[in-house]
């Protein structure tokens, strides 16, 4: 089956800074891949390139087999995203925002889909409330509902549970796992919560200075590198990238 996301030799340079340095990886159907790394490692730059809002200097991006550079609109129609730093416009209500984005993604039977999502993300009580007056956790749920509007084949989540309480975060994680299990979608997930990554991701990639240093099963990877937990491994990679093959 076609990979939901395939990156090959992806590179982005800002002036003298190499933000992403020729990385290659894929996200397969029914797979959640964790993209880990310290601040400035290149995670968000990578996600922005996959979303088509940042042009790579080199390399290719294929989404469900479609070349993003050549078929941007068709490829992006198969994706969606939620990021903690991009809340939906605060001057529109929850329903208005979801309806506008539903039209942008050309969601079929939109009224029915909106009602499903309002229920799924426990947003029915906020349906006619402006997003700007919601708590950060509620805004995150609206962003996640937006991200699920078009049943994306590739879901990009940049720290999606950062502002959620543990109970809601757990429900969201369960919901996304179910979403991946039921269909053929893949998820690229960034998080600084290693407990969450271990619980959710099938595979993780450690990024540092724009390069992938480690890749593997989050449950086995710490032991393979002499660490007890994923968090310990994260700290070691962030502090001593040279030890992990950084040249």
């Amino acid at each position: 089956m076609t990979e939901m996301l395939a990156l090959q030799g992806l590179r982005k340079v800002y002036g003298d800074v190499v933000a992403v340095d020729g990385i290659s990886f894929d996200v397969r159907p029914n797979e959640i891949v964790g993209l880990l790394g310290p601040n400035g490692a290149g995670k968000t730059t990578t996600i922005n390139m996959v979303l088509g809002v940042l042009q790579p200097d080199a390399g290719t991006i294929h989404i469900e087999g479609l070349d993003l550079a050549r078929n941007r609109s068709q490829a992006i129609a198969r994706t969606n995203f939620a990021a903690v730093y991009t809340p939906l416009p605060g001057n529109l209500t929850v329903y208005q925002n979801l309806r506008v984005f539903g039209l942008l993604y050309e969601v079929k039977d939109l009224p029915k889909r909106l009602n499903e999502l309002l229920k799924q993300f426990d947003l029915e009580a906020f349906r006619d409330k402006k997003c700007g007056v919601l708590s950060s956790g509620e805004q995150t749920r609206v962003s996640l509902a937006k991200a699920m509007l078009n049943h994306p084949k590739l879901l990009l989540l940049d720290e999606p549970t950062a502002s959620l309480d543990p109970s809601t975060a757990s429900e969201i994680r369960t919901g996304i796992r179910q979403f991946v299990k039921q269909g053929t979608s893949g998820v690229l997930w960034t998080s600084h919560n290693m407990y969450e990554v271990e619980a959710v991701c099938d595979r993780v990639l450690f990024l540092s200075h724009g390069k992938i240093l480690l890749e593997g099963d989050p449950k086995k990877l710490p032991g393979a590198h002499g660490k007890r937990t994923l968090e310990e491994l994260f700290i070691a990679v962030a502090r001593e990238p040279l030890t992990f093959g950084m040249s």
Partner: protein, 267 residues
């Protein structure tokens, strides 16, 4: 092209305007004040000038058409600025939306808001100052059309400026019509201008409209060729403005400005 995606841009603007008095009032408030101000001025001029010449169609009509152009231009830039103000670029440009669909949505939003303004202006000008559009005959339609096209081009160009130079550069947009108006001969014949300004006015579609308007008011017939020239120039400017907008957008994709727009520049 997807009608749904274009409609989404229009719907977003409708939601914003419907729920906000501060967005509804500016649609007609300034142009209503303009109509009243110029209405009384023309009425006064009619009392002091030589009898037989009516300033209402010459001046008030010209101001009405010029304000229509400004409404079209600002209608586009205001719809664009909503995305700037709500920091919505990443959300909106990470969708399958094409630039042509986005621009189409901005133009349709502008048509709707400008029609409100035009209606209010016509009501004041006709009801209180006896402006009759019949004075211009059918020529009023190409007059409006040329200004409409030029308004679109300036709206897209203004949006490109803001996209290029960041949120704080919106002040570039507001004085643009004022910068153009001396050359466009809105209130006086182009022949009044020094030669170099007349040369510039040849490249401005509104100058053909207002010259035609004055010819009709003076009892002549507006030149079809001049209006066609104005129309073709306006269409050319639309293509040029869209080309500039697309160029700025592509550059923003390369530099990362779309993803980090609030930083204003990446220097």
């Amino acid at each position: 092209m997807s009608w749904n995606r274009t409609f989404a841009i229009v719907l977003r603007q409708f939601y914003l305007i419907r729920g906000s008095l501060s967005r509804v009032v500016p649609l007609f408030s300034w142009i209503a004040v303009d109509m009243i101000l110029w209405g009384f001025l023309t009425r006064y001029l009619n009392t002091v000038a030589s009898p037989g010449f009516n300033f209402v169609p010459a001046l008030l009509g010209a101001v009405l058409l010029w304000d229509f152009f400004i409404r079209i231009m600002h209608g586009i830039t205001m719809a664009f600025l909503e995305d700037v103000w709500s920091r919505n670029f990443l959300n909106i440009f990470a969708t399958p939306l094409l630039m042509s669909e986005y621009a189409g949505g901005l133009v349709l939003s502008s048509i709707a808001t400008s029609l409100v303004g035009l209606g209010v202006m016509l009501f004041i000008a006709v009801a209180f100052f006896q402006l009759s559009l019949f004075v211009y005959g059918l020529a009023v339609l190409p007059f409006l059309f040329v200004l409409f096209l030029f308004g679109i081009s300036m709206g897209i160009f203004g949006s490109a400026l803001v996209l290029r130079f960041g949120p704080a550069s919106e002040w570039f947009i507001w004085p643009l019509p004022a910068l153009i108006s001396p050359f466009a001969g809105v209130l006086y014949p182009v022949s009044t201008l020094p030669h170099w300004m007349q040369f510039v006015s040849r490249f401005l579609p509104p100058s053909y409209v207002f010259e035609g308007l004055r010819t009709i008011v003076s009892g002549g017939t507006a030149s079809g060729m001049a209006l066609l020239t104005g129309g073709l120039l306006a269409v050319g400017y639309i293509f040029l403005a869209f080309w500039i907008f697309k160029g700025v957008y592509k550059s923003a994709l390369r530099t990362g400005l779309i993803a980090r727009y609030s930083a204003e520049n990446l220097g």
